[in-house]
Symmetry: none
Subunit: 229 residues, 4 copies
Amino acid sequence: MLQAARSAFEEQGLGVPLGEIARRAGVGAGTVYRHFPSKEALFRATIVDRIELFTDTARDLADVADPGAVFFRFLSSVVRLAARNKALCDALEAAGAGRFEPSPGVGEDFDDALEVLLRRAQEAGAVRQDVGIADLRALLVGCLSMERALPGCGSDGGVPGRMTALMCDALRAERAVTELETEPVKRNESRCGVCGAAISAARTGRPARYCGGACRQKAHRARERTRQT
Amino acid sequence: MLQAARSAFEEQGLGVPLGEIARRAGVGAGTVYRHFPSKEALFRATIVDRIELFTDTARDLADVADPGAVFFRFLSSVVRLAARNKALCDALEAAGAGRFEPSPGVGEDFDDALEVLLRRAQEAGAVRQDVGIADLRALLVGCLSMERALPGCGSDGGVPGRMTALMCDALRAERAVTELETEPVKRNESRCGVCGAAISAARTGRPARYCGGACRQKAHRARERTRQT
Amino acid sequence: MLQAARSAFEEQGLGVPLGEIARRAGVGAGTVYRHFPSKEALFRATIVDRIELFTDTARDLADVADPGAVFFRFLSSVVRLAARNKALCDALEAAGAGRFEPSPGVGEDFDDALEVLLRRAQEAGAVRQDVGIADLRALLVGCLSMERALPGCGSDGGVPGRMTALMCDALRAERAVTELETEPVKRNESRCGVCGAAISAARTGRPARYCGGACRQKAHRARERTRQT
Amino acid sequence: MLQAARSAFEEQGLGVPLGEIARRAGVGAGTVYRHFPSKEALFRATIVDRIELFTDTARDLADVADPGAVFFRFLSSVVRLAARNKALCDALEAAGAGRFEPSPGVGEDFDDALEVLLRRAQEAGAVRQDVGIADLRALLVGCLSMERALPGCGSDGGVPGRMTALMCDALRAERAVTELETEPVKRNESRCGVCGAAISAARTGRPARYCGGACRQKAHRARERTRQT
DNA sequence: TATGAATGAGTATTCATTCAT
DNA sequence: TATGAATGAATACTCATTCAT
């Protein structure tokens, strides 16, 4: 059933009727609900492992030599895989808009792992300094849109990558032309996701996500609630 | 009524219920159908003039000096305007996926005008040679996705532009680090949309769209049918 | 399993999903069905003993001195216990509407035992003469409704009793201001439940329920069928 | 359609499928939703006028001589009318449990009008002093339960009133036997419905419902939200 | 015998489109 | 011609009951 849901979501995105999934799985609609409490829960279940795979890969690459090449290669491969997968595209877009979280922590773990690769590439001088992790998330969404928009690519069965290569060039540090107007949107410079208070950026350690324990706890409870939905 | 539809579509995209549009216009739903045979026809009607405006602007810029600056400025302004307009975003994305055409010829005219600016900028050495008009269309869709994905931009009321600036950098000739894998998809190198035969690229004049008069006529009749739907 | 069903029904009434009961019992839904042919049968099984307990208590009180006090105390205690038990409330209400019978004979035994207390109290001059057992059954349902309707009582965890005390006052002989319009509905004056013929009221012995042996047998077979459902 | 909904709700209560209502009205389900945004809104619409009728009647009776007789007659007639109407029964019961409000203010107006009759009857010495408006609301629910529980009454087409007459006797002041344990639950002695703070009872004027302007405003906004549902 | 996965009819709600007036 | 009431298919979700293992 998960397989049926996966393929249905990958082809048609979050919009597939649940009945279609049940039909593909050869079961009744009720059976789907027996296993997953809601359509969104099923959707989450079909993509968490994909995102975790990305996260794991990124973590594995954190120590590999030539951080610049590693970063660009990783970015390209993520786009290449996700562009064929409307479920991932929908999820990334919805997550960007704050309408969706695959599973508590999964999105953040991915961000963290990606940020490490970005930082290393920046420190190695391979990637321009004025982009942050939030830029990168948006860029990912954009690449997917582009690859899918390009005729003969994405869902059409073509080989994606062309537009992503273009984007990678945009990120390269050498000969940066335009200076981006605003400061890079780095997560550890942004605000507490719960109360909105400014968070002072610590130089070392994992960047703080909340302004303090109270808000972290509040967010944790919210995640718990989400997990039960 | 067109005004009501326009604002509704701009705010909520193709997803607005038709009843909402009728309500805003202060008329009955039937009256909307009296003037437009379907919701999609109404949608088309609300965006053609926007696209034509872009087309006209692009044509006006075709003779202005400093083709590189002109090109980048035009691109940015299109994104800036469209990012606040969910109707345009939806239309561009759907058009890219081949699911939608604003009106026969309108999309192509825009492409043509945009292509002229692109060519001039390329000839002036400002834009890398390995991108084509199809790339540019995809890139437009991607920019809109990115701007809307970036927190505090797009629909959130922020000032778009950051990601577009990045994209523009990607297009600059002096940044062309990677050679794009596949050949740029140039329209006049593609195939006849009707019979699929290869079309020999003419060096001058408006690029041929069909392999000959028979196919052009066939396509015209198809468009007539579409227009009535 | 019976215990799990009991607590579930007591808390949420007949409306609990069967799956919830199975979950509480730590068994599969199929196992519940192995023991009870339907949800209603399980429901019946969880309340018969409660009603039988009431019946037994009433029988024990049939000889106790001060019939008036006994009657009122019994009535109050039934309400007090049942008000906290949504299963009993639902059962009593449905039984009153003729939609439900806990088990063949159980409801009638309760009625009989209650009727004895009522008669004794009436003979002792403590309860007004113009109420019958059918009135009392309705009154029970009403008391439960009232206790549950009163804020801070019933399901809210408050102490029930206030409205029941009022009802008891209504039953007291010395309060009989109004003469009840219609005759009290006495069961032994009603009609044969099978053929509808009038049943002559015997002064002594257990009141006849059917007009004769033929109808009694017919009713018995019907009960057997019900038991299997 | 309102007529169809009314009769359906009256017969089967809030539980009627919306499709049944549509069928009775001879229209599609969508048409019902055209006129009423939700099933509950339709339900409200079918009972507000009934409750307002009660309220108006009660107000008209506020000046009539012999307050005791007026009070009891009014109570009986409300029960008589409502007992045949499962919609009203459901509404009164749900309202008592705080799960439902027919329309902003309607329930409170009814309470106010009823309270006036109660107070007058108490001042005239016709009704015992130890019952309050909250008791009366519960009592109403109880009477309806009883009348419907009595065989041959309520929905069965019989003449209701018997149990209500009994309840009226319970309310009569002359020779009150039991003193009700707790204080009467009078609304103006209870707590602020918003913040729960105690409200000091004013001797004159309309009894305060909220502890102050802040809470009154909060409740007003809540009602506004309800009205839009 | 016990299990729990599967079933499928039923419910409220939405919305593009049609059509009588 | 303009209206807006009517339509009905579609969708997510629930739950009593069945049945293969």
